[in-house]
Structure formats: C-alpha cells, structure tokens
C-alpha cells in the first residue's frame, strides 16, 4: 500500500496515503520512541510537545540524521538512502535549542550575508561583524535561525526557537517561518511548550507520551 511512496510513483490508489511533497517518516523510532509514521506536507507546520526528557530533541536530531535510529525518511519522495548525510542535512535543517558558533565573527558562519533576512529578524547589516562569543542567548537563537535559513532548507526542524525571545522577536520569528511556509513551501516541525504558540503556528499537533508519538486534537 505504501509502495506508491517508496517507488515515487505519481499514481495513488484509494488505499494509499495522499502523496505530498515534504517530509515523510516511516517506521521511524529510536531508543526513546516506539516506531511511528509521520507526514508533514510542503508548506505545512506541525507542533510537537511532550514532557522534558520525553525525547523531542532526540527525535529532531534523528530526523536530521545526526544520531543512529530506526526507520526510513523521505524528502520530496526521495529516500534518505540515496543521499549522503550532509546532502540530507542541508535539505532537512535543524535549529537546536542551543546554537553553537565556531568562528570568531558572525559573518564567518554565512556564505553570503542577506540583509533582508537579518532585517526580518531585527538585525542591522552590521551584525556580520559582531563577535560570536559575545552574543546573548536570544541573539544566538535568532542568528542561528538566520544561519539555518540562509542555507535554504526544505524542511525545518525547530527546537523551541523562541524560548529565549521577547514578545517582539517571537513575533518576528513566527512571521518569518510562516513566510517560508507560504513562499518556499517549507515543511516545519515546531517544538514548543506554549499552547498559544502551538495554535498560532500549526494546525496539526503531536505529543510524545509514554514512548509514543500521538496526534492530539485541541478545541
């Protein structure tokens, strides 16, 4: 039944899932999670929540193929097996809760500086000269997002991207992600503990509970 997916065929039978570009996980799991299937279409955002230590971050790391796990993953109907780790990670971008900087200046982490991208996150063009070791946690988070988006990933895995931000910057981040969904058809998995934010950014909501990934409906 899921063969149509695996072969990348364009024909879908009535029993097959609706074919959508985006991210698809099949029998996916790790030491913290029972295997599950999940699809996030291009341009869609799903929220993910669960108690701390339940494995949200580990799940995102596994989807970005940063640590060993079980199951299959596809992007835009292409299996992860057909591309190298770096190729996959360039298309499936992870924004971790804590963003690390290896170079001395912010600009060293970008192949080109996009003033509009910086502006959308509340930075002037001079931000490239800033010392990366002096960034505040909120700046690290917003610039980490800029660094990731400059890479033009097709899937965004966001691990509490607004945890250290004030109201204004939180709004900027939400707007920027929304525009990436509508204009570049990014598929997004957004980890957050904030109920209001979940409602604002996503239509489908997932919860990790007792080693299971479950879809939850909120009214």
């Amino acid at each position: 039944m899921a063969n149509a997916w695996a072969t990348g065929s364009g024909i879908s039978s009535s029993s097959a899932p609706i074919e959508v570009a985006g991210l698809r996980l099949k029998r996916f799991g790790n030491t913290l999670l029972e295997p599950f299937d999940l699809e996030v279409s291009a341009g869609e955002c799903v929220s993910l929540t669960g108690p701390s230590g339940s494995g949200k971050s580990r799940l995102l790391r596994a989807i970005a193929d940063l640590e060993p796990h079980e199951g299959e993953a596809y992007i835009d109907r292409q299996s992860r097996h057909n591309m190298s780790g770096p190729q996959w990670r360039k298309r499936v971008g992870l924004l971790p809760a804590e963003c690390f900087w290896w170079g001395e200046r912010v600009a060293e982490h970008f192949s080109e500086l996009d003033a509009r991208l910086f502006q959308a996150l509340g930075f002037g063009p001079e931000v490239g000269d800033w010392e990366s070791s002096r960034l505040s946690s909120g700046e690290r988070q917003r610039l980490g997002l800029a660094r990731l988006l400059a890479n033009e990933p097709e899937v965004l895995l966001l691990d509490e991207p607004t945890a250290n931000l004030d109201r204004e910057n939180r709004q900027r981040v939400e707007d920027l992600i929304r525009s990436r969904q509508s204009q570049r058809h990014c598929a997004v998995i957004w980890v957050t503990h904030d109920r209001e934010q979940q409602r604002r950014v996503a239509k489908r909501h997932y919860l990790i509970d007792a080693r299971q990934l479950r879809e939850v409906a909120w009214t």
Binding site: D65, L66, R89, K90, W102, L148, N151
Partner: protein, 266 residues
C-alpha cells in the same frame, strides 16, 4: 679507545642515588617514591632483558626472531599510546589507531634508513635495525599519543560546534578541520623543540652513546643529525596518519559525530 666496562658496583652507585631520591620524596611527603622505584626497577629489568635478547640475536641473527622483537616493540608502543589517552576509542580501535600509524611511519622510515641511507648488509642486521626502530618508535609514540589525546579531547569539548556545522550540511572534514590541525600541531611541537635545542642545550642520547663508545665526535654528530631528521619525519607522518584515522573514526558512514565510540580512560 676501548669501552670501559661497567661493573655491578658501578650500577649500584647510580641506583643508590635514585634510592636516595626516593627517601627524599618520602621525607617531603611527595608520595611518588613508590612510582619512582617501580619505574626505576622496570627500566633496569627491561633494559637488561633487551641487552640479553640483543646478545642472543647478535649471535643468531635469524630474521624471524628479529621480526618478533620488532613486533613486540610495536605492540608495547601501541599499548603505551592507548594508556596515555584520556578518552580512548572503543574496541580494537583503542590500540589500533596508534599501532597502525606507528607501523606505517616508524617501520617505513626505518626501512628507508637501512636500505637507502645507511645501506646495511643485510638490511635486517640487528645492530642497526633494533636501535633505529627503537628510537623512531619511542619518539613517534610520544607524538602520536599527544596528537590523538588532543584530537579526542577537543572533539569532546567542542561537540556543539562540530554538530552545528554538520547540521548546516558541512562535510565531516570541514566540521573537524580546525580541531584536526590543532591536534597535529600539538603532536609535532615536541620534536620541533628537540631539533631546535639539539647540540646547544641537550646532547642527544645517540650521539652521547657513540662518543662514549669511542666514535669520532663528527661521525657521531652525522648519525645524530640523520636520526633527528628521521624522527621528525616519522613523528610527523605517524601523527598525521593517527589524526586522520582517529578523526575518520569519530564519524560514521552518515557523517554523524559518534562520540559514543570513545570511552573514558583511567
């Protein structure tokens, strides 16, 4: 000039000094007298054994026996490299990385020296092979141990930075490039310092030995120059191999950083 033979009493006087030092350590509560005495005892036993083994090998000169001794030296050096690591590779790689790198560098450099430079007949002549290999292994061992320790230590410390680069789709070589270069530099600094100080501050062991044995000082100097150059080349290539194999081992086939392949040493 004949070599003056040392008697047991001569050695006992030298040993007495170390015992005196151990007494001082006890008096000053340094707590290293036990270590000092064990190390001194080890060196006495090990060197005496080596002397006896070489004596037998000089008489027999059987290639298989020489190969066995060379192999034994390599394995012990490999173990030493592992023992000096704060974080070691799990499984066979713990000893494997260092041993393989030393085999590649020390053995090929020794072979080159014997066949191309000194042109000994036969090339496996014990008198040349074992001392040369010993000096190369001993120095390469230190360089590799330092470089590997530096590599694994920094990879552990900077895992966030390495993974940040992997997350952006950088290849593993890029992600660990700076750490790799630093590790290699750290492994090469001791031998660079040794070369810079040779003859000015320190009179190197081999030259000292040859002069004591009655060689003309200038001949001894030439041998020492050759050995120092070979050692630096051997250390450099060995450390390069070790850092390359080690850093490759830190990543898997999906180019994920695999720090679970390291375990804490003692």
């Amino acid at each position: 000039m004949d070599l003056i033979q040392l008697s047991a009493l001569d050695l006992a006087i030298a040993a007495g000094l170390v015992v005196l030092l151990a007494g001082l350590s006890l008096r000053l509560a340094l707590g290293i007298e036990r270590k000092l005495l064990i190390a001194a005892l080890r060196s006495i036993v090990q060197l005496s054994l080596l002397g006896l083994v070489l004596k037998v090998l000089f008489e027999q000169s059987h290639p298989a026996l020489i190969a066995l001794l060379a192999l034994f030296m390599l394995v012990v050096a490999g173990y030493e490299v592992m023992a000096r690591q704060q974080r070691r590779f799990t499984g066979i790689w713990g000893m494997g990385v260092g041993t393989l790198s030393m085999f590649l560098s020390s053995f090929s450099v020794t072979l080159l020296a014997l066949q191309v430079i000194i042109r000994v007949e036969p090339w496996y002549s014990v008198q040349y092979l074992i001392p040369l290999l010993g000096m190369l292994l001993g120095n390469t061992m230190s360089g590799i141990a330092i470089a590997l320790d530096n590599l694994t230590h920094n990879a552990w410390q900077q895992r966030g930075q390495i993974e940040a680069r992997l997350m952006l789709g950088h290849a593993w070589q890029q992600a660990i490039g700076e750490i790799r270069r630093n590790a290699l530099r750290s492994g090469l600094i001791p031998i660079i310092n040794a070369m810079a100080a040779a003859g000015v501050v320190s009179l190197p062991g081999m030259m000292t030995g040859q002069i004591l044995a009655g060689s003309p000082p200038f001949e001894a100097a030439k041998y020492q120059i050759m050995i120092l150059l070979l050692i630096s080349a051997g250390t450099g290539f060995g450390a390069t191999a070790a850092v390359w194999i080690g850093s490759r081992r830190l990543f898997d086939e999906r180019q994920r950083l695999r720090l679970d392949r390291l375990r804490a040493g003692k």
